[in-house]
């Protein structure tokens, strides 16, 4: 686990990079508390949208009643995601992942920011530029 890399991923999503200079971004990220405790959401990938303005990942997870909920988390633009080490095939439909993320304040199945994502075998997914 590389704490600085993960923090870099979080801050990159927030429009700031650890490595000097502000990254110009598209959107004002509102509706969440960056200091909130993250949650783990385990589920199965249903869509990996490798598109602008932000790459999106959708996965189905079970809620407390056992019903499937469709979660979503965003990454950077396609170009910035490439710079961050992601690729058009980083995620596969059907694969199991666990995302550790800050949930949107509105409470729906929305991850405002992902702190880390791991695959079924526990290996981390690269979503941030290396140190």
């Amino acid at each position: 686990m590389n704490t600085r890399r993960e923090l870099g991923a979080v801050l990159t999503l927030a429009g700031v990079t650890l490595f000097g200079g502000a990254v110009a971004g598209h959107h004002s990220q509102t509706g969440f508390d960056p200091n909130a405790a993250p949650i783990d959401v385990k589920g199965t990938v249903v869509e990996y949208r490798w598109r602008n303005p932000h790459v999106l990942l959708f996965w189905d997870a079970k809620d407390k009643e056992g019903k499937a909920e469709r979660w979503v988390v965003e990454f950077a633009s396609v170009a910035s995601s490439l710079a961050n080490g992601m690729k058009k095939d980083t995620f596969k439909v059907g694969e199991e992942i666990t995302a550790t993320c800050i949930r949107a304040r509105a409470g729906g199945p929305v991850c405002a920011q992902a702190k880390k994502i791991v695959r079924a075998d526990g290996s981390p997914v690269t979503t941030a530029a290396p140190d």
């Binding site: 429009g15 490595f19 200079g21 502000a22 990254v23 110009a24 971004g25 598209h26 959107h27 004002s28 990220q29 509102t30 509706g31 969440f32 949208r49 598109r51 602008n52 303005p53 932000h54 999106l56 959708f58 979503v72 965003e74 633009s77 396609v78 170009a79 910035s80 490439l82 710079a83 961050n84 080490g85 949107a104 304040r105 509105a106 409470g107 729906g108 929305v110 405002a112 530029a129 290396p130």
Partner: protein, 277 residues
């Protein structure tokens, strides 16, 4: 007497023939876009192309510059009363619970052209292409270009129609390329307010922009951009910056696609702030 070419000689000729060299030498490759490079890749490119030591022509603007745009001077000039009202009107809408809906008044969210000088403030790299009568300034973000006319024409006193990229003319003063422009469409923002992205900096169609570009090394472009809009700001707004060459890259294609943007707004942006759909 006929000369017979020996086999070794024939083989040597064939080995160094252009056809063989073409087949064995490396072919051009697709290069990454400026924004697609990681920090390490960027450093490696600079080293590979030896940009720090190469000689340069200060009047050569060719090249791919930057990857992120130039943030405007954080010291914003004071607003006029009209300018303050315009600025206040850019504030993002809120949900019933008082949560700002991102930067909802920002035309970028519905794929309006960024316009100029916002494309200077926010881009994924740009490229100058110098032609005999104009300089093209091509932007990856939006996959568009600006014409900077160098054929001696002057700015129109009364532009016939507003343009997102304005009307621009350029000239050299020594080793500095100066660009002046007017005729801007007032729907664009100068830049989102990066102190708080819920707002943006508006302008009127009376805005003028003056830019100065000076190449001070092979890989460095010193720039100065001044926004003059007396209806909005009480003083000119000047931003100075240094833009680095992006060697080993080529501009990609980033078009703002309305359907993609609406899908993002619907699937992520609005749910995140609790907008019921």
């Amino acid at each position: 007497m006929q000369k017979i070419v020996s086999l070794p000689t024939l083989l040597l000729v064939l080995l160094f023939s252009p056809l063989v060299l073409a087949q064995t030498s490396s072919a051009p490759e697709w290069l990454p876009c400026p924004r697609c490079q990681s920090r390490q890749e960027r450093a490696a490119s600079r080293e590979k192309y030896d940009v720090d030591k190469r000689p340069f022509n200060p009047r050569d603007l060719n090249g791919i510059w930057g990857n992120n745009g130039v943030e405007f001077n954080i010291v914003v000039p004071p607003f006029t009363a009209k300018g303050k009202a315009m600025y206040d009107a850019t504030r993002a809408e809120e949900t019933a619970e008082g949560v700002a809906i991102s930067n909802s008044k920002d035309g970028m969210l519905i794929c309006d052209p960024l316009g100029y000088p916002r494309w200077f403030a926010y881009n994924y790299g740009f490229q100058f292409v110098v032609l005999p009568d104009r300089v093209l300034q091509f932007f990856e973000l939006g996959h568009t270009w600006r014409d900077i006319w160098t054929d001696g024409r002057t700015l129109p006193d009364d532009p016939p129609a507003p343009r997102w990229l304005g009307y621009a003319v350029g000239r050299w003063e020594g080793d500095t390329f100066i660009v002046e422009s007017n005729g801007y469409d007032d729907r664009s923002w100068i830049q989102e307010d990066r102190r708080d992205r819920r707002w943006g900096f508006p302008h009127t169609d009376q805005m003028r922009v003056v830019e100065r570009y000076k190449r001070t090394s092979f890989s460095t472009l010193e720039t100065e951009l001044t926004v003059i809009d007396t209806e909005v700001f009480k003083k000119p707004w000047t931003t100075k910056s240094t833009i680095q060459l992006s060697p080993g890259t080529e501009l990609g294609e980033y078009m703002c696609v309305p359907s993609e943007t609406e899908a993002y707004n619907s699937d992520k942006l609005r749910p995140q702030v609790g907008v019921k759909q």
